[in-house]
């Protein structure tokens, strides 16, 4: 029997995304942010996560999606990383889904650009596709952008 995987899902511009559950530290509502001047565009700011300072990344910008509507407050999906936590800002939090390994398919070749590197592939769920986000890549680019500043 094929192995099952657990994903924490969220919505971004009506697209369903998933991050492996074990990578997620926590999911929290909107927190006030302190902007960081001179930072890469995708960095929305810094949040105070119970005394920990966490960088928040605007996932919409990161994935080259349309900016969110004015006034909508993004949620934080806090990802656990070796060098501390990072928050990914998303539109809406979804359920935790359990998927079969078999339902996975790599990203189609027709998807191009930098976005391609950040989406590992999709899981075919009932009635919709769940994009599997490569969190490492999604966070890494931020570093590359700051180089030379």
């Amino acid at each position: 029997m094929a192995q099952t995987l657990q994903y924490s899902t969220f919505l971004l511009d009506k697209l369903l995304f998933g991050v492996e559950l074990r990578q997620v530290q926590e999911v929290i509502r909107y927190l006030e942010m302190t902007r960081v001047p001179l930072a890469p565009e995708v960095v929305s700011g810094l949040i105070n996560l119970r005394g920990q300072i966490v960088t928040a990344i605007d996932l919409r910008k990161r994935l080259e999606l349309e900016p969110a509507a004015e006034g909508s407050l993004p949620m934080n999906v806090v990802i656990r990383r070796d060098d501390g936590a990072i928050s990914l800002l998303v539109d809406e939090i979804g359920d935790v889904v359990e998927v079969d390994e078999d339902s996975f398919e790599p990203t189609p070749e027709t998807l191009r650009g930098t976005v391609r590197t950040m989406i590992r592939g999709v899981h075919k769920l009932q009635g919709r596709l769940m994009h599997v986000l490569d969190t490492e890549r999604a966070c890494e680019m931020g570093e590359a952008l700051t180089q030379g500043r």
Binding site: T34, V36, P37, I53
Partner: protein
Amino acid sequence: MGDSDIVKDFLAESYENLDRLDRELVSLEKDPGNRDSLASVFRTIHTIKGTCGFLGFEKLEKVAHVGENLLSKLRDGLVKLNPEITTALLSMVDAVRQMLGEIQETGQDGNQEYKDLQNILSRLLTGEAAGPTVTLPAVAPSVVASPAATPPAATNSPAKPQVLVSPAEAPTAATGAASADAGEASKHAPVHGKIGGMLVERGLLSPDDLAFALRMQQRGDKRRLGEILVSLALTKVEDIALVTQPEDASGAPAATGDEAKSGGAAAGEARARGGSAETIRVGVTLLDKLMTLVGELVLARNQLLQFSNTVQNAGIHAVSQRMNLITSELQEEVMKTRMQPIGNIWNQFPRTVRDVAIGCRKEVRIEMEGKETELDKTIVEAIKDPLTHLVRNSVDHGIELPSVREKNGKNPEGVLKLRAYHEGGHVNIEIIDDGAGINRDRVKQKAIERGILTKEQAAQLTDREIFNLILLPGFSTAEKVTNVSGRGVGMDVVKTNVEKIGGTVDIQSVAGRGTTVRVKIPLTLAIVPALIVTCGDDRYAIPQVSLLELVRLEDTQAVTGIELVHGAPVYRLRGRLLPLVYLRRELAIPNVARKQKDQDEAVNIVVLQADGRPFGLIVDGISDTEEIVVKPLSKQLKGIKTFAGASIMGDGKVALILDVLGVAQRANVLDETRGAGKVSEEEAMEAADQDEKKTYLLFTGPDESRMAMPLDTLARLEELPASQVEKSGIQWVAQYRGKILPLVNLEYALEERRKTRRHPPLVQEGKESKLLQVLVCNHEGNPVGLVVERIVDIVEDTAKVKYPSSRAGVLCSAVIQGQVTELIDIPVVLRAARTEVADPEHAEVSH
């Protein structure tokens, strides 16, 4: 897992021991007869030898062993200590240290045999007594002897342990349990036997357990006995360390071996060291974690306090106050756990000094003051290398050769003094030598050669500025500024490293008398006082170390005060141009919010210092100073040099901490041409140089004469409307802060003998609305107001060029800010004024 723990403990302990050895050997050299030191050195080496024996580091053991033999001869007075022996012993310490390093990295004690070293040590040994081949086995009998002869062994169920222990104890006995391991045992048995036997003897290990461990060895477990015991949790590393220490072994009264003798002298100290059982080793990571947690607690406390102020509830107030106190105390205590005395790094300096001194044939004595001054661990680590470099430099370049010193009438032995003391949240560390001092002309010449300065600029520099040129990158010691080869690290690296942790380096030198290098560093990096400023809608924290002063320009000043030098904004700060940097512009914050702020015309200039150069940072607002907990930025943001980190404010929001150096670099403050930079550097140095320069108040005296007084003699500056001046008897007075302030007109006080001999009216008729400029001074415990014409400025200057005074009440004439200024002698002036007043003859004539 158990193994690596033992090794880790062994390494940590051995490193400490080695550091102590360095120190003790050097002090022993000075006082060869000191038996206590000798015994202590001997014990230290012995402990290392013993421990590495049971851990199986043979090569290390061998080296330590030869050294130990030599030491035992020294202790017994068979060999006299001389520099050659000290050097040999020190190189043995180095060898041991090297091998420990090897063990730390690879888990093995390396391939090097240190044959040469062993030979040297052996040769030194045979210089007096038998060769190493004889002394080597000589240790064995003593080992065998000690447990057997120890009375407790007999009382401790005599029969059973004896049987179990003896095979391992006697290397020659290839019978019973140990037989299978005989070949191995013969090499290590002394140590094994000792450990097994002694643990049992001290009741730290049951005989059954020992038997079990021995059986394991027999069955082919290649580990040493000690390791097996620890890995089975049958005994503790500390216990093994305890029994391997010679002072314990020496409990054997009949012991004849080398070790036993150390006992007597060591007993006292052993007890003292036994007291250190009250301390426990704690991992640094754990302490760091604690520190982080306390930092977070401090933030939570701040938030709680802010919140409790908004609630009308006595209970919450009380609890939050209590919480406040406890947190502060906790913070202090946790900070203390990370504090280390600076002595920890100084302790290696006697050795460093000795080596360098011998290398360049100099005689140098090292003195230390304030060894116990404590600093945060991270800082202690960070300043170790810079300090070492400075110390080497002082010996190498600073102190002269004995012959030269004698010729100059100095003691041939140079003195290098290390001094550390606290000063307002900072620690000052001074490295003082009584050497030749820095040759300023040579430095100047070098600076001109390297194009750092033009001839004209060089001519204008003060001595201090010249000395500090050495800290510039182009000026590494390798460039032979002081004629001796460099050592890889230049003074600029020292400076950079010290500045990295928020410190400063300053050099003072007197030709022929010596050089003082002062390193000023903050106590801790984790929690720093900072000024909170606002820009746009955000707050930013500026660490106070780089803060010089705050300037606020209001109304018209805000418009006219800022001038442009070809587009670059500057402000005249006490006559000097201060380059200005708009934080808003540097941070690329859009000007959207600017509109509302337009009503507030004031300009806030935060005068900062980066790399020794002041610049003004214009911010939207200045809020407050606050103790902030510095938190690093995530990897994604590390690249932004403008920020040093972030912190959580009392209201729970995050604020970024500005990296002043980064801001300055971004704004090109530091890229100015040298000429322009020089001025600011000079000013920065003036600020740093408070012992020589004084702050003066400049004012205009009678006849428009330019006068000054030291600011510290002044209590306050006041402006009093002339209409408030009243007369009390013959004395002009004014009501001032609920008291009567006698007023003295400077013009009158200065005239030694006025022809008219009467007090001129303080206020001319018709000018009652005029504001009097009053300098309030304390004279003999009472405030006295000195009325002057006009207050000009407050400046800092050395007032070096002086000319004797031409009239009473004036100390001297001096050049302040490039102009001749009379320095007023306040006590004389006031006393004169008083006696005049008190003098009845004058009273009669003055109406």
